[in-house]
């Protein structure tokens, strides 16, 4: 019981790190980006290649995955994404799903379609059981929770306390007024997009072991990221965090207790929540 809760929390934290960039960019530019999972996949594959071909230790791969995908995100934002902001949602959906399709086939071509296996360092293997086995904690999951919690706190700090954070919040609330006050909304957005992609890449690298990594990753998890964003709302990061935890726990518990129903529970839950509250569960009053 507690073990399931623990696994669910680890899974949820991971989903949050993967989806938080999507949530912020969607709130900022009202841009529907279905290719977000491609950045996560890029991070995951980068880690696998670095570890297998070049023998780079896992812990060094993680920041590398963050930097590389963040850089990739910055380039893509500058070159491809920027003309898309003013276009209708249909165009954005077509464009980003096209990117996702391309990334799936490209990875399939270069890396093959098989599932990639991640060799974890020894210190992260094994599990600890306390309270007579009532709570079994895999060390790697503990590691995921620790990293994701630290990142969440850091994000919250940046958003709440720094100048950049207040600029970002102002741009999310009303980008036109923010631009009128002299905030360079474009550069705020470029930085946010890059950091969001980087976090997705880091999440992909961390999650390759838990979520599995194969070329269909962007399409398979696109739905989960979108659920986090749609249910959590796009106006804060607490919303997506709670939504991701809810989704993670519901998914793990559902698969454990009623394996026959599979992902059915998660999708139905999402449908019901969105019917009940079309703008998401956690909408901040005063935002838009």
């Amino acid at each position: 019981m507690l073990t399931i809760l623990f696994d669910g929390i680890a899974y949820g934290m991971l989903l949050f790190i993967l989806a938080v960039g999507l949530s912020v960019t969607m709130g900022l530019m009202n841009f529907i980006n279905l290719a977000h999972g491609a950045f996560a996949m890029a991070g995951g594959y980068l880690t696998v290649v670095l570890m297998q071909r070049f023998g780079v230790p896992f812990l060094i791969c993680l920041p590398l995955a963050f930097l590389a995908t963040g850089f990739l995100g910055a380039i893509m934002e500058r070159s491809l994404y920027r003309p898309m902001y003013a276009k209708p949602h249909l165009d954005q959906v077509l464009f980003s799903i096209g990117l996702a399709f391309m990334s799936v086939s490209a990875i399939d071509y270069f890396m093959g379609s098989q599932q990639q296996i991640m060799q974890l360092p020894d210190m992260l293997k094994g599990r600890t059981e306390i309270w007579d086995g009532a709570l079994g904690m895999g060390h790697y999951r503990l590691f995921i929770i620790a990293i994701c919690a630290a990142l969440t706190l850091a994000l919250q700090y940046v958003l709440a306390k720094t100048t950049f954070g207040s600029r970002l919040r102002a741009s999310v609330d009303d980008s036109r007024v923010a631009a009128g006050l002299g905030i360079n909304v474009n550069s705020v957005f470029a930085i946010t997009f890059a950091v969001g992609s980087g976090l997705a890449g880091l999440g992909g690298a961390l999650g390759a072991e838990v979520l599995g990594l194969d070329p269909t990753f962007p399409l398979k998890f696109m739905v989960y990221f979108l659920i986090v964003v749609a249910v959590g709302g796009t106006s804060s990061i607490t919303g997506p965090l709670l939504a991701a935890l809810l989704l993670g726990i519901a998914d793990v518990a559902g698969k454990y207790y009623v394996p026959k129903l599979g992902a059915f529970i998660v999708y139905s839950l999402m449908l019901l929540i969105l019917l009940w509250r079309p703008q998401g569960l956690f909408v901040r009053k005063g935002g838009h």
Binding site: H89, L94, F95, G98, A100, Y109, V223, A230, L274
Partner: protein, 323 residues
């Protein structure tokens, strides 16, 4: 004088609703296709089915302005309804088709409740979610649907009690084309009717449409139900002419492909779906002949370029490098 200008106004308003000679020519050629190209009859059949599916999405996307990423839900539901009906109740294709259309209309009416509120993102999610839920159901209810093996052993009776479905696919192609044309005829009539005009008004500006007394929710529900019915018909044709229904009818690729077809042909234009389906199938045939495995890469590239260039400019190459 006034009567004359009134008449002129009326005829100019009715102009788009008239059938033009080019349209007669087009449909005439379409119906001759399976007989003049007997070796491609199966492909004509597929094209007719996806064209019907694209027509259905056009109602939702082009005329009602709802971005749906889960339209395959209705296609799949229609396919499974028709296949199960043929297997357990009655092998007659037309009765099965009617049955599938009625059941998917009911599903569409139910789903219409989910798309009335919220932003584009919310709608995207609920339509996608619906398709995923049906996919999961079809996967898990394996005693009924055959699970991931698909529903096999569907034997269809002869059409109208006389024409057997042959391996060449000429009967199938003519059957699908007839259903496509009938649906097209009704939809064409419908979009030029006052009801169709109010739906377009809702798409263009929901607030103003509401202000002039259009019942927005009722209009959207009607369009969604009708579109679901057509998609269900497409699914039923698919199941009946192949004698098979499998889980991939619900897949995301289907919903994305049909959206691409519609965009190639032009959104909000009835022939857009039909021509887009033909172009898409031809393109699929050519590219898949060259690289069967990486076909999605080229589709993705095509989508990206299409949107970057601007989809309304696709058929006008001379405007590409002007901004």
């Amino acid at each position: 004088m006034q009567a004359e200008s009134h008449q002129r106004l009326q005829s100019s308003l009715l102009q788009p609703a008239r059938w033009k000679w080019a349209e007669f020519l087009f449909w005439g050629l379409v119906f001759l296709a399976p007989w003049f190209l007997p070796s491609h009859a199966l492909m004509v059949n597929e094209m007719a089915i996806v064209a019907l599916f694209a027509l259905s999405l056009d109602l939702v996307l082009g005329y009602a302005g709802i971005v749906s990423l889960g339209h395959a839900a209705f296609l799949g539901f229609g396919a499974y309804s028709a296949a199960l009906f043929a297997k357990h109740i009655m092998p007659d294709p037309l009765v099965g088709l009617c049955f599938a259309m009625v059941t998917t209309s009911c599903l569409g009416a139910l789903c219409a409740l989910t798309i009335l509120r919220g932003s584009d993102l919310t709608r995207l999610m609920v339509t996608l979610g619906m398709a995923l839920i049906l996919l999961e159901l079809a996967n898990k209810l394996d005693w009924l649907t055959g699970g991931s093996d698909g529903l096999q052993g569907v034997l269809m009776g002869p059409l109208l009690g006389r024409f057997e479905f042959d391996l060449m696919g000429q009967t199938a192609a003519t059957y699908s084309l007839t259903i496509l044309f009938t649906s097209f005829f009704f939809v064409r009539h419908w979009v030029h009717s006052p009801l169709g005009a109010t739906v377009k008004a809702v798409r263009d500006n929901r607030l103003r449409a509401m202000a002039i007394g259009i019942n927005v929710n009722a209009r959207l529900a009607v369009v969604y139900g009708a579109a679901a019915c057509l998609a269900g018909a497409a699914g039923a044709l698919m199941a009946q002419t192949t004698g098979f229904a499998s889980l991939d009818v619900f897949a995301l690729d289907r919903s994305a492909d049909v959206m691409l077809m519609l965009v190639i042909g032009g959104v909000g234009w009835l022939y857009g779906g039909v021509l887009g389906a033909v172009a898409f199938k031809l393109m699929h045939d050519v590219i898949a002949g060259i690289t069967p495995q990486y076909w999605t890469f080229w589709i993705g590239l095509f989508l990206v370029v299409l949107v970057l260039v601007g989809r309304e400019r696709l058929l006008k190459p001379w405007t590409w490098w002007r901004s």
